[in-house]
Structure formats: C-alpha cells, structure tokens
C-alpha cells in the first residue's frame, strides 16, 4: 500500500504552477502538501506554459518531503489529458481532480493515468488521486466518488463553485457550507478516506480563519485548503494535539497494550473508562503529535 494514502495533510496550500517565485521554495513554510495549480490560477492562454513550468519544478526542485499534489483542469475542458501526462512524467505525488461529480470521473482519470504510467514507465499506484467536490451533484455523490478507486486518498470541498451551484454565496457564517461539510465528512469516513475543507480567502481575518479551522477539526476533517502561507501556522496549531491530549493518548496506548496481554478488556485511565475502542484514536493522536514534531515520548 502506498503510505501516502494516510499521510498527515493538515494544510494543503494552493500555488500557481506558472509562477516561479511561488513554486521555488514553498517548503520553507512547512505546509503538509502543496497543490500546484494548472486550473483556475492559470490563465487560459498560459495552460501550455504552466505545464513546462510544472514539469521542471517536479523534476528539479527538492520539495523536502512536502507532498506535491497537482490540480489538473476539469474533465469538461480539453486540457486535462495532457495535464495527466505531465503529472505522471514528472512523477508528482498526487493528482487532484477538479469538479469531480461521479465515480466515473475518478475512473476516467485513473484510466488516463494508467496510459501515461505505461508510457513513462511509472509504477501504477505510486501516484494517488484526490477528488475536489465543487457542485451539488459532486457532494451528493461523495460516497461513490470516495469508493471509486483504491488510489483515491480523500476528497476536498471547493466552496466557491459549490455555493454558486447551490445558488448562494460564501457568507462567512458557514451556514451555506454546513450540509456539504457534514455529508462529505460522513461519506469520506464511511469510505475510509480523508476529507479536507475549502479555502478561506479573507487573509486579514485571521480570527475568522482560526474559528473556521477549529470548527472543521471538531467536525472531523483532516485538514484545510490554504491560499497563503500566513494560514499555515494557525492550521497546524489547531490540528496539533495539546500536551494534555498527548499524555492521555500515550497512557491509553500503553495501558491497552499492557492490559491486552493480561486479558483485561475494560479499565480506567485518569478516571475515565477505557476499552479497545479508544485505541485507534489514541494512536492517531500520537501519530499526529509525531508528525507535528511535538511528541517526545517513546511510542
């Protein structure tokens, strides 16, 4: 299994693949993933130029472990097939499908990827897929999309287009996105996949941004789409377990391991009833703490 399927993706930062100053060294800001954009950020008459830029960036820039996702143009455009060829030839880590509406969309992309993988001698399965849901239909089909391919690691909401389709707009209250967020996270979890929230575009409203990240974390999301490095630190802070949470998780993991050996099923940690069902969550907390670089224990 490709270990990238479950990697940590708290922050996924969009970058215009056509802008050298942006794609040069975004790893400095330590996002978990960058999303090199061939779609909306690139003007229609620069789609070709963006691919050359993307190809050499993928081949020659050392992104120091940051995941390199490429957002390709939508399946309704003429650009996407060549986009997939350059992604595969450049060996990006993942492809983000714009405006995904059905399992068929995912399969169409996977089929093109297979062709390109054969052409360029790239192992099938080494490049993953994520689906952006940007319409009501896409959101309604979230479960079938999430289960369409074993290479698909998760789905992301694209709030701007989605609210247009919904015949409303981004209001800042979050009310217009409630249904989509709720359905998507449920569908993604049901499919065993990750789920990512949409962008927050008002860069000056850091307070509002923090609140939104806190909310989507409570809802169960794995991370947030980011439009500016300013948003990374807050996102990571929200998604990084607190010291208290880490200590508790550590006790749970250790106790479960210990009690399992002794054949004890239910016990207490810090006065709380604990059983095996707490184990995966506690493990996840430890993994999250490790990935965030704040775990100093021995697990």
């Amino acid at each position: 299994m490709n270990p990238n399927l479950t990697r940590l993706r708290r922050s996924m930062m969009f970058l215009n693949a056509q802008k050298p100053s942006l794609i040069k060294d975004p790893y400095i800001y330590k996002p978990d993933s960058i999303m090199l954009d061939l779609e909306d950020a690139v003007a229609e008459n620069q789609k070709d130029a963006a691919r050359y830029s993307l190809y050499h960036a993928l081949k020659e820039i050392d992104y120091r472990g940051v995941e390199r996702v490429v957002r390709i143009n939508g399946l309704e455009t003429p650009h996407w097939k060549e986009d997939i060829r350059v992604c595969v030839a450049g060996r990006c880590d993942s492809i983000r499908i714009s405006k995904t509406e059905s399992a068929a969309d995912v399969l169409a992309v996977e089929a093109e990827m297979k062709k390109a993988e054969e052409e360029f001698g790239v192992e099938h399965g080494s490049i993953l897929i994520m689906a952006a849901l940007e319409s009501c239909k896409g959101v309604m089909n979230a479960y079938e999309i999430c289960t369409a391919s074993p290479l698909l690691f998760g789905c992301a909401l694209s709030g701007g287009d989605y609210t247009k389709d919904l015949q409303t707009k981004i209001t800042g209250t979050g009310v217009e996105l409630m249904g989509a967020r709720q359905s998507m996270i449920i569908a993604a979890r049901a499919a065993g996949k990750q789920c990512f929230d949409t962008v927050f575009t008002n860069l000056d409203d850091m307070e509002g941004f923090r609140k939104e990240v806190e909310m989507i974390k409570m809802m169960g999301f794995d991370g947030k789409s980011i439009v500016n490095p300013r948003q990374i630190a807050v996102t990571h802070e929200v998604f990084t377990p607190t010291e208290k949470e880490i200590i508790f998780a550590e006790k749970v993991v250790k106790e479960v391991d210990d009690k399992k050996a002794k054949g004890i099923g239910v016990f207490t940690v810090d006065g709380k009833m604990i059983d095996i069902a707490f184990y995966p969550g506690a493990k996840r907390t430890i993994e999250m703490a490790k990935a965030a670089g704040v775990y100093e224990g021995d697990l």
Partner: protein, 105 residues
Amino acid sequence: MEVKGTAMAGTLESSDAQVTVEPGTGIELSIESSVINQYGKKIRATVLETLERLEVKDAKVTVVDKGALDCTLKARVEGAVFRASGYSEDVICAGKKLPWGGAIQ
C-alpha cells in the same frame, strides 16, 4: 524542431524569465539578466542545452532574465519554442503529445 513563427513565454516578474523565439539562421542568442555577472554563463549554457535537446538549429532567441532558476529558464525556452513550432494548446489538446522526459528534460 523548426521555429516557424515568433512566440514568447514567461514574464518579467522576479524569479521569472521572458523568452522570445523567432525564425533565424543558426542560433542567435541574446541574454539580458539581473544576475548576469554571477550567472551569465550558467544561463547561457542552460538555454543552449535546452535548444539543443529540442533540436532547434535555426532561431533568434532573446532571454530577459529576472533571476530565474534553471528549471524556470528551461520551461520558458521550451514554452517559446513549442509555441513557435506549431504546438499551440489547441494542437496539444487535439492529441499532439509533448515529449515529456524526451526532448523535455
């Protein structure tokens, strides 16, 4: 590749380079750069290698560099050359495949 028309790729923003390719005889290369003293030779070598890989024998090539990395220089030269040699986005979308990993390296 045969340069049949004039085409340009890239911008004059910092870290970018603007490359213009026109029909010519032999390679006529002119380079202007904000980092010419420190990187002039490297820029020229990168541009010439890229042209060679693309098998461009005759072209007038003008580079206005604003501190672009090699990866950007290559991309801009390729962008201009492919555009000037009949690889418009329309043609590419119609199925004319680009030589990723071949002439484009």
